[in-house]
Protein backbone atom coordinates (compact mmCIF):
# COMPACT_ATOMS: atom_id res chain seq x y z
CA UNK A 1 0.00 0.00 0.00
CA UNK A 2 1.44 3.30 -0.99
CA UNK A 3 0.62 6.65 0.54
CA UNK A 4 -2.00 7.38 -2.09
CA UNK A 5 -4.02 4.25 -1.45
CA UNK A 6 -3.65 4.87 2.27
CA UNK A 7 -5.15 8.28 1.69
CA UNK A 8 -8.00 6.80 -0.31
CA UNK A 9 -8.76 3.68 1.69
CA UNK A 10 -7.85 4.42 5.29
CA UNK A 11 -7.91 8.15 5.90
CA UNK A 12 -11.58 8.66 4.93
CA UNK A 13 -12.58 6.30 7.75
CA UNK A 14 -11.14 8.66 10.32
CA UNK A 15 -14.49 10.05 11.49
CA UNK A 16 -16.04 6.60 11.90
CA UNK A 17 -13.01 5.52 13.88
CA UNK A 18 -13.22 8.71 15.89
CA UNK A 19 -16.88 8.18 16.79
CA UNK A 20 -16.29 4.58 17.77
CA UNK A 21 -13.27 5.51 19.87
CA UNK A 22 -15.26 8.35 21.40
CA UNK A 23 -18.02 5.88 22.36
CA UNK A 24 -15.42 3.75 24.08
CA UNK A 25 -12.99 6.18 25.71
CA UNK A 26 -15.43 9.03 26.25
CA UNK A 27 -13.08 11.94 25.63
CA UNK A 28 -12.60 13.67 22.30
CA UNK A 29 -8.90 14.24 22.85
CA UNK A 30 -8.26 10.61 23.68
CA UNK A 31 -10.44 9.44 20.82
CA UNK A 32 -8.37 11.56 18.46
CA UNK A 33 -5.18 10.08 19.87
CA UNK A 34 -6.58 6.61 19.36
CA UNK A 35 -7.45 7.35 15.73
CA UNK A 36 -3.98 8.70 15.09
CA UNK A 37 -2.43 5.63 16.66
CA UNK A 38 -4.64 3.34 14.58
CA UNK A 39 -3.65 5.14 11.39
CA UNK A 40 0.03 4.95 12.26
CA UNK A 41 -0.27 1.24 13.04
CA UNK A 42 -2.06 0.53 9.80
CA UNK A 43 0.56 2.49 7.89
CA UNK A 44 3.47 0.77 9.61
CA UNK A 45 1.94 -2.66 9.07
CA UNK A 46 0.81 -1.92 5.53
CA UNK A 47 2.92 -4.72 4.04
CA UNK A 48 1.13 -7.36 6.10
CA UNK A 49 -2.28 -5.87 5.42
CA UNK A 50 -2.17 -6.24 1.67
CA UNK A 51 -4.59 -9.17 1.73
CA UNK A 52 -7.13 -7.56 4.03
CA UNK A 53 -10.30 -6.98 2.08
CA UNK A 54 -12.36 -4.83 4.36
CA UNK A 55 -9.84 -2.25 5.42
CA UNK A 56 -12.37 -0.14 7.27
CA UNK A 57 -13.61 -3.00 9.44
CA UNK A 58 -10.01 -3.88 10.16
CA UNK A 59 -9.30 -0.30 11.24
CA UNK A 60 -12.42 -0.33 13.42
CA UNK A 61 -11.17 -3.48 15.06
CA UNK A 62 -7.81 -1.92 15.85
CA UNK A 63 -9.66 1.13 17.14
CA UNK A 64 -11.64 -1.06 19.49
CA UNK A 65 -8.54 -2.81 20.78
CA UNK A 66 -6.53 0.35 21.27
CA UNK A 67 -9.45 2.09 22.97
CA UNK A 68 -9.90 -0.80 25.37
CA UNK A 69 -6.15 -0.80 26.06
CA UNK A 70 -6.39 2.86 26.86
CA UNK A 71 -9.33 2.39 29.17
CA UNK A 72 -7.45 -0.35 30.95
CA UNK A 73 -4.36 1.82 31.20
CA UNK A 74 -6.37 4.70 32.59
CA UNK A 75 -8.22 2.21 34.79
CA UNK A 76 -11.27 4.33 34.62
CA UNK A 77 -14.37 3.74 32.59
CA UNK A 78 -15.76 6.72 30.84
CA UNK A 79 -19.23 6.08 29.72
CA UNK A 80 -20.65 9.34 30.86
CA UNK A 81 -22.70 11.22 28.34
CA UNK A 82 -20.78 13.81 26.41
CA UNK A 83 -22.82 16.88 27.13
CA UNK A 84 -21.20 19.32 24.79
CA UNK A 85 -21.60 17.19 21.70
CA UNK A 86 -25.20 17.93 20.84
CA UNK A 87 -25.50 20.73 18.45
CA UNK A 88 -29.21 21.04 17.99
CA UNK A 89 -29.27 24.47 16.51
CA UNK A 90 -31.95 24.26 13.94
CA UNK A 91 -33.42 27.38 12.44
CA UNK A 92 -36.78 25.72 11.89
CA UNK A 93 -37.28 25.03 15.59
CA UNK A 94 -38.60 27.40 18.22
CA UNK A 95 -36.40 27.81 21.33
CA UNK A 96 -38.83 25.58 23.19
CA UNK A 97 -38.65 22.82 20.61
CA UNK A 98 -34.90 23.17 20.46
CA UNK A 99 -34.61 22.74 24.22
CA UNK A 100 -36.94 19.80 24.08
CA UNK A 101 -34.88 18.18 21.36
CA UNK A 102 -31.71 18.79 23.30
CA UNK A 103 -33.23 17.19 26.36
CA UNK A 104 -34.41 14.13 24.51
CA UNK A 105 -30.95 13.71 22.99
CA UNK A 106 -29.41 13.92 26.43
CA UNK A 107 -31.84 11.34 27.71
CA UNK A 108 -31.06 8.87 24.93
CA UNK A 109 -27.38 9.45 25.46
CA UNK A 110 -27.74 8.52 29.12
CA UNK A 111 -29.82 5.56 28.11
CA UNK A 112 -27.18 4.34 25.69
CA UNK A 113 -24.43 4.91 28.25
CA UNK A 114 -26.28 2.70 30.69
CA UNK A 115 -26.19 -0.28 28.30
CA UNK A 116 -23.61 -3.02 28.84
CA UNK A 117 -20.43 -2.48 26.79
CA UNK A 118 -21.06 -5.11 24.12
CA UNK A 119 -24.66 -4.04 23.56
CA UNK A 120 -23.64 -0.42 23.27
CA UNK A 121 -20.85 -1.26 20.84
CA UNK A 122 -23.07 -3.41 18.64
CA UNK A 123 -25.83 -0.80 18.62
CA UNK A 124 -23.41 1.97 17.73
CA UNK A 125 -21.90 -0.02 14.88
CA UNK A 126 -25.28 -1.01 13.48
CA UNK A 127 -27.52 1.97 14.10
CA UNK A 128 -25.08 4.85 13.89
CA UNK A 129 -22.52 3.56 11.42
CA UNK A 130 -24.72 1.17 9.45
CA UNK A 131 -22.41 -1.85 9.43
CA UNK A 132 -23.68 -5.26 8.37
CA UNK A 133 -23.84 -8.08 10.91
CA UNK A 134 -20.84 -9.72 9.26
CA UNK A 135 -18.78 -6.58 9.55
CA UNK A 136 -19.74 -6.24 13.21
CA UNK A 137 -18.58 -9.83 13.75
CA UNK A 138 -15.19 -8.86 12.29
CA UNK A 139 -14.89 -5.61 14.18
CA UNK A 140 -15.82 -6.92 17.61
CA UNK A 141 -14.34 -10.37 17.03
CA UNK A 142 -17.50 -12.15 18.16
CA UNK A 143 -19.79 -14.60 16.36
CA UNK A 144 -22.96 -13.78 14.50
CA UNK A 145 -25.18 -15.13 17.24
CA UNK A 146 -23.61 -12.82 19.81
CA UNK A 147 -24.02 -9.86 17.49
CA UNK A 148 -27.72 -10.57 17.07
CA UNK A 149 -28.35 -11.26 20.73
CA UNK A 150 -26.56 -8.11 21.83
CA UNK A 151 -28.34 -5.96 19.30
CA UNK A 152 -31.70 -7.44 20.22
CA UNK A 153 -31.11 -6.81 23.91
CA UNK A 154 -29.84 -3.30 23.29
CA UNK A 155 -32.79 -2.31 21.13
CA UNK A 156 -35.27 -3.78 23.55
CA UNK A 157 -33.70 -2.11 26.55
CA UNK A 158 -33.81 1.21 24.73
CA UNK A 159 -37.37 0.66 23.62
CA UNK A 160 -38.50 -0.25 27.09
CA UNK A 161 -36.91 2.80 28.64
CA UNK A 162 -38.23 5.06 25.94
CA UNK A 163 -41.81 3.90 26.38
CA UNK A 164 -41.48 4.06 30.15
CA UNK A 165 -40.17 7.60 29.93
CA UNK A 166 -43.03 8.46 27.65
CA UNK A 167 -45.62 6.91 29.94
CA UNK A 168 -44.36 8.85 32.92
CA UNK A 169 -43.98 11.95 30.84
CA UNK A 170 -40.32 12.28 31.81
Amino acid sequence: MNFESFQNRVLPAKNKLFRFALRLVGSEEEAKDVVQEVMIRVWNGREQMAEIQNMEAWCMRITKNLSLDRIRANSRRQTQPIDGSFDVRNEALTPHESTELHESMQRINRLMAALPDKQRQVMHLRDVEGYSYNEICDILDIDMNQVKVNLFRARNAVREKLTKANAYGL
Binding site: F6, N15, K32, Q36, D127, E129
Partner: protein, 168 residues
Protein backbone atom coordinates in the same frame (compact mmCIF):
# COMPACT_ATOMS: atom_id res chain seq x y z
CA UNK B 1 -43.82 6.78 3.34
CA UNK B 2 -47.04 6.60 5.37
CA UNK B 3 -47.00 6.11 9.11
CA UNK B 4 -48.64 2.68 8.83
CA UNK B 5 -45.69 1.36 6.91
CA UNK B 6 -43.30 3.09 9.28
CA UNK B 7 -44.99 1.42 12.23
CA UNK B 8 -44.54 -1.95 10.57
CA UNK B 9 -40.91 -1.20 9.87
CA UNK B 10 -40.43 -0.05 13.45
CA UNK B 11 -41.86 -3.29 14.74
CA UNK B 12 -39.42 -5.18 12.53
CA UNK B 13 -36.66 -2.91 13.79
CA UNK B 14 -37.32 -3.73 17.44
CA UNK B 15 -37.27 -7.41 16.53
CA UNK B 16 -33.94 -6.94 14.73
CA UNK B 17 -35.39 -8.11 11.43
CA UNK B 18 -34.82 -4.98 9.39
CA UNK B 19 -32.22 -4.77 6.66
CA UNK B 20 -29.67 -1.96 6.50
CA UNK B 21 -31.75 -0.29 3.78
CA UNK B 22 -34.89 -0.42 5.87
CA UNK B 23 -33.06 1.05 8.81
CA UNK B 24 -31.80 3.78 6.58
CA UNK B 25 -35.36 4.48 5.46
CA UNK B 26 -36.45 4.74 9.09
CA UNK B 27 -33.63 7.16 9.85
CA UNK B 28 -34.56 9.30 6.89
CA UNK B 29 -38.24 9.30 7.80
CA UNK B 30 -37.66 10.31 11.39
CA UNK B 31 -35.22 13.04 10.48
CA UNK B 32 -37.77 14.94 8.48
CA UNK B 33 -39.58 17.80 10.18
CA UNK B 34 -43.09 16.32 10.56
CA UNK B 35 -43.36 13.15 12.60
CA UNK B 36 -46.68 11.80 13.98
CA UNK B 37 -46.98 12.47 17.70
CA UNK B 38 -47.28 8.84 18.72
CA UNK B 39 -43.94 8.09 17.05
CA UNK B 40 -42.12 10.92 18.78
CA UNK B 41 -40.08 8.74 21.11
CA UNK B 42 -38.88 6.49 18.32
CA UNK B 43 -38.14 9.59 16.29
CA UNK B 44 -35.88 10.96 18.98
CA UNK B 45 -33.88 7.70 18.94
CA UNK B 46 -33.33 7.86 15.19
CA UNK B 47 -32.49 11.54 15.41
CA UNK B 48 -29.98 10.67 18.05
CA UNK B 49 -28.36 8.15 15.69
CA UNK B 50 -28.26 10.77 12.97
CA UNK B 51 -26.67 13.30 15.29
CA UNK B 52 -24.09 10.80 16.41
CA UNK B 53 -23.13 10.36 12.79
CA UNK B 54 -22.52 14.10 12.49
CA UNK B 55 -19.70 13.92 14.99
CA UNK B 56 -16.42 14.38 13.20
CA UNK B 57 -12.87 15.28 14.00
CA UNK B 58 -13.04 19.05 13.97
CA UNK B 59 -9.33 19.48 14.49
CA UNK B 60 -8.12 20.84 11.14
CA UNK B 61 -4.51 20.06 11.97
CA UNK B 62 -5.30 16.38 12.53
CA UNK B 63 -4.49 15.15 9.04
CA UNK B 64 -1.40 17.27 8.83
CA UNK B 65 -0.11 15.87 12.09
CA UNK B 66 -0.89 12.36 10.97
CA UNK B 67 0.86 12.80 7.64
CA UNK B 68 3.91 14.10 9.43
CA UNK B 69 3.85 11.09 11.71
CA UNK B 70 3.53 8.52 8.94
CA UNK B 71 5.96 10.07 6.48
CA UNK B 72 9.19 9.54 8.33
CA UNK B 73 11.01 8.41 5.19
CA UNK B 74 11.40 11.90 3.80
CA UNK B 75 12.46 13.27 7.14
CA UNK B 76 14.84 10.40 7.62
CA UNK B 77 16.39 10.97 4.22
CA UNK B 78 16.82 14.64 4.96
CA UNK B 79 18.37 14.05 8.34
CA UNK B 80 20.61 11.39 6.79
CA UNK B 81 21.83 13.91 4.22
CA UNK B 82 22.30 16.53 6.92
CA UNK B 83 24.22 14.25 9.23
CA UNK B 84 26.46 12.93 6.47
CA UNK B 85 27.16 16.52 5.41
CA UNK B 86 28.04 17.30 9.00
CA UNK B 87 30.40 14.33 9.18
CA UNK B 88 31.97 15.31 5.85
CA UNK B 89 32.49 18.85 7.12
CA UNK B 90 34.13 17.53 10.28
CA UNK B 91 36.43 15.28 8.31
CA UNK B 92 37.44 18.07 5.94
CA UNK B 93 38.24 20.38 8.87
CA UNK B 94 40.46 17.69 10.40
CA UNK B 95 42.17 17.02 7.05
CA UNK B 96 42.70 20.72 6.38
CA UNK B 97 44.22 21.36 9.79
CA UNK B 98 46.43 18.30 9.44
CA UNK B 99 47.66 19.51 6.08
CA UNK B 100 48.30 23.03 7.43
CA UNK B 101 50.26 21.76 10.41
CA UNK B 102 52.29 19.45 8.20
CA UNK B 103 53.29 22.20 5.79
CA UNK B 104 54.14 24.44 8.73
CA UNK B 105 56.44 21.77 10.17
CA UNK B 106 58.05 21.27 6.79
CA UNK B 107 58.76 24.96 6.47
CA UNK B 108 60.27 25.12 9.95
CA UNK B 109 62.58 22.12 9.41
CA UNK B 110 63.84 22.14 5.84
CA UNK B 111 64.62 18.65 4.67
CA UNK B 112 68.32 17.65 4.46
CA UNK B 113 68.06 16.22 1.02
CA UNK B 114 66.19 18.22 -1.49
CA UNK B 115 66.25 17.85 -5.20
CA UNK B 116 67.72 20.96 -6.67
CA UNK B 117 67.99 19.87 -10.29
CA UNK B 118 65.38 18.63 -12.68
CA UNK B 119 67.78 17.60 -15.43
CA UNK B 120 69.80 14.51 -14.50
CA UNK B 121 72.68 15.58 -16.80
CA UNK B 122 73.00 18.89 -14.95
CA UNK B 123 72.76 17.11 -11.65
CA UNK B 124 75.50 14.75 -12.70
CA UNK B 125 77.75 17.64 -13.76
CA UNK B 126 77.16 19.42 -10.50
CA UNK B 127 77.84 16.28 -8.50
CA UNK B 128 81.04 15.67 -10.43
CA UNK B 129 82.16 19.20 -9.70
CA UNK B 130 81.38 18.83 -6.04
CA UNK B 131 83.24 15.52 -5.85
CA UNK B 132 86.17 17.00 -7.73
CA UNK B 133 86.26 19.83 -5.26
CA UNK B 134 86.36 17.36 -2.42
CA UNK B 135 89.07 15.32 -4.08
CA UNK B 136 91.12 18.46 -4.76
CA UNK B 137 90.92 19.37 -1.12
CA UNK B 138 91.80 15.81 -0.23
CA UNK B 139 94.90 15.99 -2.40
CA UNK B 140 95.82 19.28 -0.73
CA UNK B 141 95.63 17.53 2.58
CA UNK B 142 97.70 14.65 1.27
CA UNK B 143 100.50 17.04 0.30
CA UNK B 144 100.49 18.46 3.82
CA UNK B 145 100.54 15.02 5.39
CA UNK B 146 103.40 14.00 2.99
CA UNK B 147 105.46 16.77 4.57
CA UNK B 148 104.58 15.55 8.00
CA UNK B 149 105.59 12.05 6.97
CA UNK B 150 108.96 13.40 5.88
CA UNK B 151 109.50 14.89 9.34
CA UNK B 152 108.41 11.66 10.97
CA UNK B 153 110.84 9.63 8.83
CA UNK B 154 113.69 12.03 9.68
CA UNK B 155 112.84 11.81 13.36
CA UNK B 156 112.82 8.02 13.18
CA UNK B 157 116.23 7.96 11.49
CA UNK B 158 117.67 10.26 14.19
CA UNK B 159 116.19 8.10 16.88
CA UNK B 160 117.64 4.88 15.45
CA UNK B 161 121.07 6.55 15.12
CA UNK B 162 120.89 7.71 18.75
CA UNK B 163 119.98 4.19 19.82
CA UNK B 164 122.90 2.69 17.87
CA UNK B 165 125.29 5.11 19.55
CA UNK B 166 124.00 4.21 22.95
CA UNK B 167 124.36 0.50 22.23
CA UNK B 168 127.91 0.78 21.10
Amino acid sequence: MDSKKIEQLLEKYWECETTLDEEKALREFFNQAEVPLHLKESASLFRYFEQQRQQVITDVAFEGRLKKAIEPQKGKMRSLVYSSLRIAAGISVVLASFWLVRTQIREDQPQEITDTYDDPQKAFEETKRALQMISKNFSKGQKATAKLNLINEAKDKIQTKDNDKADS
